[in-house]
């Protein structure tokens, strides 16, 4: 697969990452930033919806769109079909809007940004140059970048606090900004595409998101443009009892290409926090989008206290012929994950790929997978899912492959591997397959295995300690997916694999 060949995990990378990991004993991102916050009152109702819309200085059509979504949401029931269990969420006991006070007056330039925010970026591992740009350092944009450039949008609780490299991107006609800015500055694009992939009424969480989303990222790549750098968004939930509802909209116009990275962290809290994002991707003729996520929300402690409840709707619509999308996700965090990045293969010869690593440890629960909906002729999809469970965690792969009558000569290949560490955890595979024409082919392979004692002993005989040995073996198990990630993320992901499995053996 061509997409796969372009990215390569650097040989020898594992050692550095494993070492970095050793220095970190628990959830690395579990610090909390002491920044003065401004909150909307708790709960959700039409007034709160209006307030969010107002804070974002939105036009009337947007406010109406939100209110209609809210109206629908009040009539919907929370879904309960996933293999996850959690205490009932009181949707009125959450804050729906929080932002750093320093953002109350939108900074005219980035040097008005609270220094504590910048310290946060540093801990998030945002590259130095981007930090400087986010901090508004004079001339930082023109400095030679060390290595590859990555444009960053950082979303802190409810608001985007800054986007880097906007000018350079603009030269290529690329728009990369917060969605609230896009609603103000590019209403024609937002109106045309928002809600066309994930309709307002799609599901309980998506509908709630449509009503109360506070911010997120917006990307538009014009026809024929290969985006000159990786685009990335860092999401962080900092405020307590605050839901984060971000909304991402990515449009790849005809013949364009973009690689987009999403990173997420949240501080350690003993109350659960809600995260319900919506990501919509539109891919026109001959365009290609790669969307990579490393999700590392706080997973809760060993006893299942706290953590993020992650209910996410992500969907890509391959509208044009020969369009391509590739989802790659590394899910290591969250107490509860409910997430099925999906591909609608509408254009003829369009292609969807889904590569996933989901790691659950301790009391974590993940119900994740993908939907490949084949509508166009000669469409292809490929699913590679690696589920790793340790502790008492439960890990479910749920996947739908659907071949519609018109999707003649289409193909799907699904490979779904589960790895168990210890004997108190569980792995489940729930494939749904519908084939409604007789020229299409669906292949499904699934395996479940345990971390092999002989492998661990072999590693330990060579000098690695038990955790290092487990991390090495698990990273090997995930190799097919790690290879699909851009290199920076592959390294981070390897580290995360090791961190999230700490304490899972012995």
């Amino acid at each position: 697969m061509a997409a796969l060949d372009q990215t390569q995990v650097k040989e020898g990378v594992d050692q550095e990452t494993v070492d970095a990991v050793r220095e970190v004993s628990t959830y690395k991102y579990g610090w909390d930033t002491d920044i003065e916050m401004e909150y909307a009152p708790k709960g959700v109702n039409p007034d709160i919806v209006r307030l969010i819309s107002d804070k974002n200085e939105e036009p009337e059509w947007m406010t109406e769109w939100r209110l209609a979504a809210f109206e629908r949401w009040t009539k919907m029931d929370e879904p309960n079909w996933a293999m996850v269990h959690y205490p009932k969420i009181d949707f009125q006991d959450q804050y729906y809007y929080a932002r750093p006070k320093s953002m109350e007056e939108k900074p005219k330039s980035l040097d008005e940004v609270d220094p504590k925010l910048l310290a946060t970026y540093e801990k998030l591992g945002i590259p130095l140059k981007e930090q400087m740009i986010l901090a508004g350092v004079e001339g930082a944009e023109d400095m030679p970048a060390e290595g590859r450039k990555v444009a960053v949008d950082a979303v802190f609780d409810s608001v985007s606090v800054g986007t880097t490299f906007q000018d350079e991107l603009a030269k290529h006609g690329v728009i990369f900004c917060s969605i609230s800015e896009a609603i103000r500055e590019h209403p024609e694009l937002v109106k045309k595409y928002l809600g066309t992939v994930v309709p307002v009424s799609d599901n309980f969480y998506a509908t709630l998101n449509s009503a109360v989303f506070s911010d997120g990222s917006f990307v538009y790549i014009p026809p024929g443009v290969r985006c000159p750098m990786e685009l990335s968004t860092y999401f962080r939930i900092n405020a307590e009892n605050t839901g984060q509802f971000e909304r991402t909209l990515i449009i790849a116009d005809k013949g364009s290409y973009v690689s987009y990275l999403e990173g997420c962290t949240a501080p350690q809290r003993d109350t659960a926090q809600l995260h319900a994002a919506v990501v919509e991707i539109i891919i026109e003729e001959d365009a290609e989008v790669k969307y990579s996520t490393v999700q590392n929300w706080f997973p809760g402690d060993e006893n299942g206290k706290g953590g993020i409840y992650n209910f996410v709707t992500k969907r890509a619509d391959c509208r044009g012929d020969r369009s391509k999308v590739m989802w790659t996700q590394v899910e290591t965090g969250s107490a509860v994950t409910w997430k099925y990045p999906s591909c609608i293969l509408r254009g003829d010869e369009s292609q969807g790929e889904f590569y996933s690593i989901a790691i659950t440890n301790n009391m974590q629960q993940a119900d994740t997978g993908t939907k490949m909906v084949h509508l166009g002729k000669n469409t292809k999809s490929r699913i590679v899912s690696k589920g790793i469970s340790a502790g008492k965690a439960q890990n479910t792969y749920r996947g739908l492959v659907s071949m519609h009558p018109k999707a003649k000569d289409s193909r799907n290949y699904t490979q779904c591997d589960s790895l168990l560490i210890g004997d108190k955890c569980g792995a489940h595979t729930v494939p749904y397959i519908e084939v409604r024409n007789n020229s299409s082919r669906v292949e499904h392979e699934a395996t479940t295995s345990k971390v092999d004692d002989d492998q661990l002993f072999y590693c330990r005989q060579r000098g690695m300690d038990e955790e290092e040995a487990v991390a090495l073996v698990v990273n090997g198990f995930c190799k097919d997916v790690l290879q699909a990630l851009p290199m920076e993320f592959a390294m981070e992901a390897q580290q995360l694999v090791a961190i999230s499995l700490e304490g899972s053996v012995g």
Binding site: E11, G12, V13, D14, Q15, V18, D19, D452, D453, D454, Q455, F457, Y458, C459, R460, Q461, R462, G463, M464, D465, E466, E468, L472, V473, N475, G476, F477, C478, K479, D480
Partner: protein
């Protein structure tokens, strides 16, 4: 260097005694060979020395330079200098051979409080050592032992040994499955490592290997004990007459 005294070992899960009082001392700089019928406990001895799970030591001791091996975790024994070339090397899918080696080398260095090897130095060393064992670049990149032929796996074990420079090398039937040329390569690899400070325990069924790696001492193991010890001529005797005479003699 390695001192094993009256070692009794049973299986953890069942009442099966496998080693019934092994006494064996390997001095630094010496090569000891162990021969013995199938099932006599040779591999078990190598596993117990390196710390594999599943065995219970009921009596006796094993020390390396005076340090009690039986108290240590497998990785501590490795860092102390124990190396086992496995009779059946294990496959680790998805983990590059080079990555594995580098992780192992640096883990041991770190455990001993030494500096890690830089990527450049490491590469240089691996390439040189791989070359002398006729291991090509492709094999270094491939996942550990996955799809390796029997002989390639054994050469790979010797490469690991050469990189880790252990004090006490235990080779469990490293010669089995090797063609004549590979056997020579492996023997050369071992001979290159022979020095004053290093001991070898070479488990084998065949005199062939011992033609190339000249042992100082040969032991015969039977039913969980060392039943006879002698010089290189003992291996020749086994080669010519089998174990029957020796076993009859000790009974």
């Amino acid at each position: 260097m390695l001192e094993i005294k009256n070692l009794h070992v049973k299986l953890e899960e069942e009442e099966k005694q496998i080693l019934k009082g092994v006494d064996l001392t390997v001095e630094a700089g010496k090569v000891h060979a162990i021969m013995g019928p199938n099932g006599s406990g040779k591999s078990t001895l190598s596993y117990v020395l390196s710390g594999r799970d599943g065995y219970e030591v009921t009596e006796g001791s094993a020390t390396l330079e005076g340090a009690d091996l039986l108290e240590m975790e497998p990785e501590e024994r490795a860092a102390a200098g124990i190396f086992l070339a496995f009779q059946y090397p294990v496959e680790i899918p998805g983990v590059g051979n080079m990555t594995f080696l580098r992780t192992a080398v640096n883990a041991q260095r770190k455990a001993r409080g030494e500096e890690e090897l830089s990527a450049a130095d490491f590469l240089k060393e691996v390439r040189a050592k791989a070359k002398s064992l006729k291991i090509d670049a492709d094999m270094l990149k491939r996942p550990v032992n996955v799809g390796f032929s029997g002989g390639e796996k054994k050469r790979n074990e010797i490469l690991q040994m050469a990189m880790l420079e252990p004090k006490m090398c235990i080779l469990d039937e490293t010669d089995s499955g090797l063609d004549v040329d590979a056997m020579k390569l492996v023997a050369e690899g071992v001979n290159a490592l022979r020095d004053e400070g290093r001991g070898f325990l070479v488990i084998t069924h065949y005199q062939r290997l011992l033609d190339h790696i000249k042992p100082d001492v040969v032991h015969i193991m039977a039913d969980g004990r060392i039943v006879k010890t002698g010089g290189p001529e003992l291996a020749l005797e086994v080669e010519n007459n089998g174990y029957a005479d020796i076993l009859a003699e000790v009974n």
